[in-house]
Symmetry: C2
Subunit: 262 residues, 2 copies
Amino acid sequence: MESIDTELAARIRNDIVLGNYGEEERISEARLCDTHKVSRTPVRLALRMLEHEGLIRRSEGRGYFVNAPNVNDVLQAVQVRGHLESLAARLMAQSPDRLSTLPILEAAIEEIDRLILVGKMDHASIRLIQKQNAVFHKTILECCGNDFIGFTCSRISHMPMLEVGAMVFDRQVLSTKEGKERSNFRLKLGNSQHKVIFEAIQKGDAVRAEGVMREHSNTMIEYIQVFEKRTKEELTIKDLIDYSGLSVMRKEHDTTGKEKSL
Amino acid sequence: MESIDTELAARIRNDIVLGNYGEEERISEARLCDTHKVSRTPVRLALRMLEHEGLIRRSEGRGYFVNAPNVNDVLQAVQVRGHLESLAARLMAQSPDRLSTLPILEAAIEEIDRLILVGKMDHASIRLIQKQNAVFHKTILECCGNDFIGFTCSRISHMPMLEVGAMVFDRQVLSTKEGKERSNFRLKLGNSQHKVIFEAIQKGDAVRAEGVMREHSNTMIEYIQVFEKRTKEELTIKDLIDYSGLSVMRKEHDTTGKEKSL
DNA sequence: ATAACCGGTTTGGGATCCCAAAAAAAGAGC
DNA sequence: GCTCTTTTTTTGGGATCCCAAACCGGTTAT
């Protein structure tokens, strides 16, 4: 259990990204105290945190205004994270003591392969794949030799779909058979990219490791963009399913509430 | 004038990066209240901010410990910022509506050229060059089309030498004639890189814009590394002069105190 | 002698109080 | 009826108070 303000910040953050607050809504400390039944101290700490994260703006006069991110904001952020990850991949490929961590990457790749082969595209399986995916990406970030890359990624991972190793699906694709096949192909493609990245790092091919990692993150961006074009009206964050460690969107699609923290 | 907690956070941050606190020193709220003559409320807000910035760690039991960054941390951070800037350069070169902002870049380059030609290597001149340098880099960040890049950079610019467009010199180099000449050459080299970046963006050569921008930031990293090797003992942040917008180190080298905010 | 226990002290989190500034509303003058 | 001024209310920042948990020191029992 975290301290109240962290918990509170998470709840408000959730409300903001899910669009419960209206684009430019004014937000007051007193109101939050009332709705969340806490004192002003944790509210202020939480608001400061959210301001730092860019989810609310503090008006110079007084008062806070929400800064709800839209899909385009998320896409931009994914691009930034992907670019940082590509730097990490390059550095890791150049690092002399990378060999000891290679088995971790290999194990994650093999586990994802195994899960894809089983072919179950239900929630539980995807979460398992997501977990191994997170392991793969986190390992590269943590073993690249530049700790500041991981730190910077962690500073921006408060937004939905920005947790390292997060995976995004659209809400309809998992409900139809054809959609499931498409998702299966997407997972296969992603893991084959993992393999190429792994081999490049193993061989010390820094340029290739960086390039494929960049391509790997572009895949996610393009997936969202393609889906964006397919929808008639404006695509909102709610239309996407975020499989990430944080799982901000969980209450939207997980009614069982069994797995509280993976 | 900012609110007290922001001011306070800046002061504590300053103390930490200048090494006034000892590597792993315990830091207590009460002590800070006493030394800075403020109540605990702003102290707590400031500590939260610094924790978010990674300059202090909160022990799960209780208490805060300082996490003083060393030169290597700064180098890693510079690498991250440079990598983000190279992404910005690439995106700007790809952006269709980049042409309207090109004159800003060109003006900054010409102004720096003019200042270098005058050849005065005193504090005031270097600050003017620094300002135009910041304009150049900020313009690229702000006009690349991905606002999240600039946002991410701003989130990490609390550390010394990480303000966008910051320039670093070592403390001895500006005191000797030979050192001044070397610095002059370094400025010329930097601005010639600016020119190449400008032309690449103008032509829409995204690959080259990205590559040269990367090289541009590597120049700063290598400068510090070369200086690091030249010194006998461990290089500290204090040994470097930081010409940045924030100028955390100002009180170290500016005794006149005339220019409070450029 | 050592280890467990117990009380005092330190310290951080949360709640409440106070105040100044700004927005909103009411009132006066034209 | 409109505008400018004054008063009221709202709201956020800072200070203080309270409390629970953790650390420290000493004492006692084995």
